[in-house]
């Protein structure tokens, strides 16, 4: 088995997620060193097409996360509908059907908090567009764990509530446009 990745990126998005992610995920380079875990709010009874849609458009691998799967660099993992996605301390993904958080399962907070615990300072947390308060606590946890935090500039977001709540809970987070976030992510993980 390969060693757990040195760091990770976690992204949360809700209303307007597809367009926002379209400005970021396809720009990740083929050799992106870290895993990227993404929670998008989707109705529980729907089969999510996110992984399929982005797989065709990205240079990195894209898939739906499976329980206890070791996380690998250069791969985007989407949380499956109706399950929370968490990161285990040993760098594996795990799923949970615990209660929804902020009416959401998967929940951004649940992913971000567990990832902050597993990766500490080697974590980048990104909150994008959404009409919900999910992600605010989680982003704060990323910051408190020493990680780097970004929020989509509310005036550029399709839905402003989620970025605004995230900035209120985590004032140290940097507000940036999608293009700036994508450019930053290209520098992540050094030359690894």
């Amino acid at each position: 088995m390969t060693a757990p990745p040195a760091g990770a990126v976690v992204i949360g998005a809700s209303a307007g997620a597809f367009d926002a992610l379209s400005a970021i995920l396809p720009r990740l380079p083929h050799k992106f060193p870290w895993p990227v875990l993404v929670v998008v709010h989707i109705p529980p009874d729907k089969k999510s097409l996110m992984a399929e849609l982005f797989a065709a458009r990205c240079q990195v691998a894209v898939k739906e996360a499976e329980d206890k799967e070791p996380l690998c660099g250069g791969t985007v993992y989407f949380a499956p509908p109706d399950y929370h996605l968490l990161v285990e301390p040993d760098g594996r993904a795990s799923l949970s059907s615990e209660e929804p958080v902020h009416f959401s399962r998967p929940s951004i907070d649940v992913l971000f908090e567990s990832a902050a615990d597993a990766f500490g300072p080697a974590l980048v947390g990104v909150v994008l567009t959404g009409a919900n308060a999910d992600g605010a606590h989680g982003l704060r946890a990323v910051h408190d764990g020493g990680g780097t935090t970004f929020v989509q500039r509310p005036d550029t977001a399709q839905a402003t509530m989620m970025p605004q709540e995230a900035l209120a809970a985590c004032p140290a987070a940097r507000a940036m446009t999608l293009q700036e976030i994508a450019a930053y992510l290209n520098t992540v993980g050094g030359d690894a």
């Binding site: 329980d67 206890k68 301390p89 059907s97 209660e99 567990s114």
Partner: protein, 281 residues
């Protein structure tokens, strides 16, 4: 069941391990082989609920105040289910598994991790609709005795009934769900005759053994809370409990892919996560 992979760098993690050790030694509930991310999340909620600053303080209360552990157990065991949750699963049992089950003169069905009994009642209704109920014994097991008491009672909040009804219909239900419960005072009480062939009992997939020979084992959204070693143990128990060609049903995002016993099963209905024990294992 060890968790050597947790680096003891953070005081929090050390305290968490000590708390789980204490619970295992004193109360014989062993959560040390569970998925730590989820356990930690639930215990951090418990820490707030019991107004403790640290896991050490929570440990002190758990060990010295008799009321605390039963309440803590409710935090540690996930209890989220529905009647006919994931209707496609029950439809596949009805359409694909039942024809095989009909060939047995008597049947045993084990719902492992049955929580408040939703899945046991679902299967009892399905088996009644298919004319198999009279020859079947159902076992519903869980580690949470409070949940088992709810399962025995078979009473659910009335507001959950529309969802249960819709699930039952989508699962290919041949009758009306309202035939099986009576509504009163905001609650739906399921027909006690549905459980006259059911044994609810306390059983741990961590520490207990196999107790019967089953044709069908259903264990959904339980393995995701276990680490790899514990998943191997649980599936080993299911393998030993099943007759040759017996069936194992898992949750919609669970699989035997990373499991030690995957070779002992074949995929029976891939999308619905139904497996069949191989005839030669």
């Amino acid at each position: 069941m060890t968790d050597d992979h947790i680096p003891p760098t953070k005081v929090d993690d050390v305290e968490l391990r000590l708390l789980l050790d204490a619970i295992a030694q004193v109360y014989h509930y062993d959560f040390r082989g569970y998925s730590m991310a989820s356990v930690k999340r639930r215990l951090s909620h418990a820490k707030e609920r019991f107004a403790c600053r640290s896991y050490s303080q929570l440990q002190d209360r758990v060990l010295h105040e008799p009321d605390v552990f039963p309440a803590l157990l409710a935090f540690l065991t996930v209890q989220v289910s529905e009647l006919f949750r994931d209707p496609a699963y029950f439809r596949a049992i009805r359409e694909k598994v039942v024809p095989h089950l009909r060939t047995y003169p008597s049947l045993k069905v084990w719902v492992a991790g049955c929580s408040a009994g939703e899945e046991v009642y679902s299967l009892a209704i399905l088996f009644r609709e298919e004319g198999l109920e009279d020859r079947t014994l159902f076992y519903g097991t869980d580690i949470n005795t409070e949940a088992l008491r709810k399962a025995e009672a078979g009473v659910y909040e009335l507001e959950r009934i529309p969802l249960f009804t819709e699930n039952h219909r989508r699962a290919g239900g041949k009758s009306s769900l309202s035939d099986y419960y009576t509504a009163a005072y905001g609650a739906a009480r399921f027909d006690p005759s549905l459980r006259k062939r059911t044994v609810f009992s306390d059983h741990s997939l961590v520490s207990d053994q196999v107790f019967g020979e089953m044709q069908l084992v259903s264990c959904r959204n339980v393995l995701i809370y276990f680490d790899r070693n514990l998943q191997d143990r649980a599936v080993g128990l299911f393998k030993d409990a099943l007759v040759r060609k017996g069936f194992l049903g898992l949750g919609s995002k669970e699989s035997l892919r990373f499991n030690k016993h995957s070779e002992d099963f074949s995929e029976f209905a891939r999308d619905e996560k139904l497996y069949q024990k191989r005839g030669d294992s």
